[in-house]
């Protein structure tokens, strides 16, 4: 596992550490197998292509896709969500249609929809939260209509840390023949994902937030939807035939994978999935709940700390955001940093939510199951010092 020297690393929601096995996979590729995929006629190219495509099968099984051709490799969650907005959005939205997102979306699942709405004339609606930070299902039910073509929803907010009832939202929107796009960037390291039982039509995540490498991610899309979608990038691999006037394209997923892919990244993603499966989500959730209990009770014991999102136990999945008194999150983070504690502070790429919370920024502490109790203790001790220094 990545060894962060002399710091308590509590910024796992930004990016997680990487196990040795993932580093070894990457080293093995660069060390003795650095070839390209798909087009090579020699044995090594065949082997690496087989391993690369094996990861696609592995992802498909892991997230419960019905076929591996529903798995598109992207450069990350943002890339995947933009692909859906650009390709599916552009071809399926008119000025009669509506898109719904939540107020707690990360900019990556907010701005693409806002912009595609502008481009197509569709209307963007924003569903809010209940006072304790849960998705307001009542409001959503009122907003959804036969005009709603797309609901785009984060499975877990990167600020509030609670899970959204994705399946219920899926049922609501499917009843109106709309589709559900799920941003699983934050949830994938914490809870199992099954696109069938979630009812997701598209689902995106990044490897680097689930013990994998940077620069690679996955977009799941239902076969039938992918079929009707045009490619949005053109290049090698993804074309079928090119002549001076016309080009025909291959089928999904290759249709959406122009250019030489992030081969080391995809192989590393495969090993990261192995790692998660070896540990098991049950163990992950158990250990995280212990960590979160300690973290939340430690923070609650400090009077000046205000915690955002759910106030009851077992509802924060690895993530908790807070402020200390009226102090600015950046000042708090600087003091935590001077105590060797790494947290994030700012609007966390969720400005619409910040506006609703009535703050410009928050401090966020986030764990994986590999985080230690002593790291949590470092954080709590450091938060206790904030007022001493700033008052």
């Amino acid at each position: 596992m990545t060894k962060y020297k002399k710091i308590a690393y509590l910024d796992n929601a930004a990016t997680t550490p990487v196990p040795k096995s993932v580093i070894e996979t990457i080293n093995n590729y660069y060390g003795c197998r650095k070839v390209s995929v798909h087009r090579g006629m020699y044995d090594l190219a065949g082997e690496v292509t087989r391993d690369y495509e094996h990861v696609r099968e592995q992802v498909a099984q892991w997230i419960g896709a019905s076929k591996s051709t529903e798995v598109i490799f992207t450069s990350g969650t943002t890339d995947g969500l933009n692909l859906v907005a650009n390709s599916y959005g552009t071809t399926n939205l008119t000025d009669q249609d509506q898109i719904i997102v939540s107020i707690f979306e990360h900019h990556s699942n907010f701005v693409p929809w806002q912009q595609i709405a502008k481009k197509t004339g569709a209307t963007l609606k924003v569903v809010g939260t209940t006072p304790d930070g849960q998705l307001d299902l009542n409001e959503l039910e009122h907003l959804i209509s036969s005009k709603t073509k797309i609901v785009a929803l984060s499975m877990m907010s990167n600020v509030l840390g609670n899970l959204v009832p994705v399946k219920e939202v899926a049922d609501l929107i499917h009843r109106q023949n709309g589709i559900l796009v799920v941003d699983a960037a934050q949830s994938v390291a914490h809870v199992p994902i099954n696109v069938q039982s979630l009812g997701a039509d598209f689902l995106a995540f990044s490897a680097h937030k689930m013990f994998g490498p940077t620069g690679v991610g996955v977009l799941f899309g239902k076969e039938q939807l992918l079929k009707g979608m045009p490619p949005i990038q053109y290049g090698g691999e993804m074309v079928d035939q090119v002549d001076l006037k016309h080009t025909s394209f291959q089928n999904a997923p290759i249709k959406f994978e122009a250019g030489t892919p992030n081969i080391a990244g995809v192989l590393g993603l495969g090993t990261a999935i192995d790692y998660i499966q070896d540990v098991g989500y049950q163990t992950i959730e158990q250990r995280e709940q212990v960590l979160m209990d300690r973290l939340l009770s430690g923070l609650r014991a400090i009077k000046s700390v205000k915690i955002y999102g759910p106030q009851v136990d077992n509802q924060h999945f690895g993530v908790v955001s807070f402020n200390v008194g009226d102090y600015h999150a950046h000042d708090v983070a600087t003091i935590l940093n001077s105590e060797g504690v790494a947290v994030r502070a700012g609007h966390l790429c969720a400005e619409p939510l910040m506006n609703q919370l009535g703050v410009s920024s928050v401090v966020r502490a986030s764990v994986t199951f590999e985080t230690t109790l002593s790291e949590i203790k470092c954080l709590i001790d450091a938060v206790r010092k904030v007022e001493d220094i700033l008052k």
Partner: protein, 142 residues
């Protein structure tokens, strides 16, 4: 005093809690808004410039201790100064923040920010009001 205590020393906390020049000027010739994209904080700086001299200057906005104190002390330090001299002051302050050679004597209270260069991720906060000022100077010189 360790680094972080030095950064959040009394005079800085004082300025942040009771900033000088906070508010909108009744009349002004220049107005600049700048944002820190990392936290979403934004500052507006107002200036009344007459005869190449900043007659009045003020700011409003939300920010951290560092940016507010920096704005407050900046306003103190340039009040009524000739444009030419302000330019020097800005450079001198920036040099200090970026750990380059600078003239300590001419900075007055601003030397309180001397340790900010130990906090590279906060340099942006300390410089935010100054960047607004630089923009105003550029407008004046156009």
């Amino acid at each position: 005093m360790n680094n972080v205590q030095q950064l959040y020393q009394k005079i800085i906390l004082e300025h942040a809690n009771h900033p000088n020049g906070f508010g909108v000027l009744e009349s002004y010739t220049h107005q600049v808004e700048l944002r820190n994209v990392e936290c979403g904080d934004s500052f507006q700086v107002f200036a009344l410039v007459e005869e190449r001299q900043i007659k009045k200057i003020s700011f409003v906005g939300e920010g951290c201790i560092i940016s507010k104190a920096s704005a407050s002390m900046m306003i103190d330090s340039i009040h009524g100064t000739k444009i030419e001299n302000i330019q020097k002051q800005v450079e001198n302050f920036q040099n200090m923040i970026l750990n380059k050679p600078f003239d300590e004597n001419s900075l007055g209270d601003l030397v309180a920010f001397k340790s900010l260069n130990q906090f590279p991720t906060r340099v942006r906060c300390g410089m935010l009001p100054w960047h607004a000022l630089i923009q105003i100077l550029e407008e004046i010189n156009e």
